[in-house]
């Protein structure tokens, strides 16, 4: 029900925006490009750093922005379900006791901005636009309910912290640099553990605490060559793959017994 209401509100807001846009083309336009739209995972892959370039296009009708521009770039990786488990002491040993399922959450999440997000926009805007990891929707299943809990929820905090330790969730208040007042660049650091899939890049431009423009782009991370061959074989032809691996074991063992034969 609340979901429906939210969709309704968003639609209304969209219609309102469109109406405003038609009346006076005042919002800024963003032109962006990523250094590499297809990151390939080969056997020597150990992470990669992408660079996002862009500029803010203004026209005659655009009002002057005296406070300058602020920008928040959010990169979200492929989504999936994940379980966070908490160990507890039971009968003297530590076992997984409690768990929460996170539904359809991004495997990778990076938020970059040109200065701390809480100085860019007020709390309500941050919440609405999902700015910063604390404001990104991470739906949990608690029993039979589906909900996003507060940012201080222990499971949510543990989830974000563990992802951050692996460099998979990251927040940087200096990740976006304005080279000139309208020209910017942002770094996207991909650790070696990033999963393959499609990554969405969401770029939002702010002036004086209000969003004045946004755009989206995307890139993909794919396994190629040998890595792709092995992964596909293991997942789609399990039996053939298993037989081949067992055969490989036999050949290696047999060769060893020939090479090291002493009798």
């Amino acid at each position: 029900m609340s979901c429906l209401r939210r969709i309704g509100a968003t639609l209304l807001a969209l219609v309102a925006c469109a109406a405003v846009g038609v009346i006076s083309a005042r919002a800024e336009k963003l032109i962006v490009s990523i250094s590499n739209h297809r990151v390939t995972v080969t056997s020597s892959y150990s992470g990669e750093e992408l660079v996002l370039f862009g500029s803010v296009e203004r026209d005659a009708a655009t009002p002057a922005r005296h406070g300058g521009y602020d920008m928040v770039v959010t990169v979200t990786g492929p989504r999936g379900d994940m379980v966070t488990r908490r160990k507890d002491r039971r009968f003297g040993i530590w076992v997984n006791a409690d768990s929460r399922q996170f539904l359809n959450v991004p495997a990778y999440l990076a938020v970059s901005s040109n200065r701390p997000i809480d100085t860019i926009a007020p709390a309500d805007v941050r919440r609405r636009q999902q700015l910063g990891i604390d404001n990104v929707l991470l739906t949990q299943r608690v029993g039979i309910d589906y909900a996003d809990v507060v940012a201080t929820d222990p499971f949510r905090r543990a989830f974000v912290r563990l992802r951050s330790e692996h460099g998979l969730y990251r927040e940087s208040a200096s990740g976006v640099t304005f080279l000139t007042p309208t020209l910017f660049r942002a770094g996207i650091a991909l650790p070696a553990e990033v999963p393959t899939g499609t990554y969405d890049v969401n770029i939002k431009l702010f002036a004086d605490g209000a969003m004045v423009g946004d755009t989206q782009t995307a890139f993909e991370i794919v396994k190629v060559g040998f890595e792709q061959f092995i992964a596909t074989a293991a997942n789609q032809h399990g039996l053939v793959y298993g037989l081949a691996t067992a055969l490989m074991a036999l050949i290696t063992g047999w060769m060893a017994s020939i090479v090291f034969r002493r009798d």
């Binding site: 150990s46 992802r163 298993g242 067992a246 290696t252 063992g253 060893a256």
Partner: protein, 308 residues
Amino acid sequence: MQLYLPIADIPINVFLILAMGAAVGFVSGMFGIGGGFLLTPLLIFIGIAPAVAVASVSTHIAASSLSGAMSYWRKRSIDPMLALVLLSGSIVGTFLGVWLFTLLRSHGQLDLVIALSYVVLLTGVGGAMCYEGLRAIRRARRGGNPTLRRPGAHTWVHGLPLKMRFKRSKIYLSVIPVNIIGFMIGFLGAVMGIGGSFILIPVLIYVLRIPTSTVIGTSMALTLVSMMFATILHAVTNHQVDAVLALILMIGGVTGAQFGVQAGHRIRSEHLRLLLGLLILAVGVRFAVELGIKPDEIYTIRATGGSA
């Protein structure tokens, strides 16, 4: 040299894995065991998911036991009949083990069961071997003859029905206990990623009174077949066998094993048994301590697939 593993999905240092394979291979060659109980925890320690570690180590054990089994076969110290009867139990056990492995993985209790089984089995077997090794050493010090029980001595096990003759082992024995032992070894191997020969060898010698001359070779033959089977089953059900990881482990393992065998010949057998007992006990105690003290990180995350 960094290499990206296609199934484990992380980059690893090839030389680190080679060294680990060689070190465990050395130990396994020295004591005549598969070494899975050392390798699986090591792989988990360097960040490889437990499921991938268990599945890939079974491939590695298959390779290392083949080279051993071939040299024992040439020396005619494998009893094919005994291996076959053990195997029939082992296959059923492996099936059940892989099924339980999949079930536990989905319930988030796989790590606990692996750790608990390590604690119980390793401290038990390791403790018994230490005790036995110490007694043997003390006996040797006193200069007395080792009072080993006669291989032909009978226990209640030898009174069971369905007897058959195992020619090469020169023993007349019921198939029931042999089958049950095979089942247990196959089950443990699939769940824990171990060959189980460090359990199988003492059981065959002390419980079934099978002559030592055929025990080691036969146990290697059994390990070979059941680990091949486990590899294929893990590949079909869990898709967690990393062939690249397994290959690197194998190359290190079979090389290390050759030096281990040479080192093993230079150490007296009762010292060897005591050393192996201490090693097994140490791994078991380490797992026990880990379960008992509060972990640094009480939260863990695991992807459960779903909507991608």
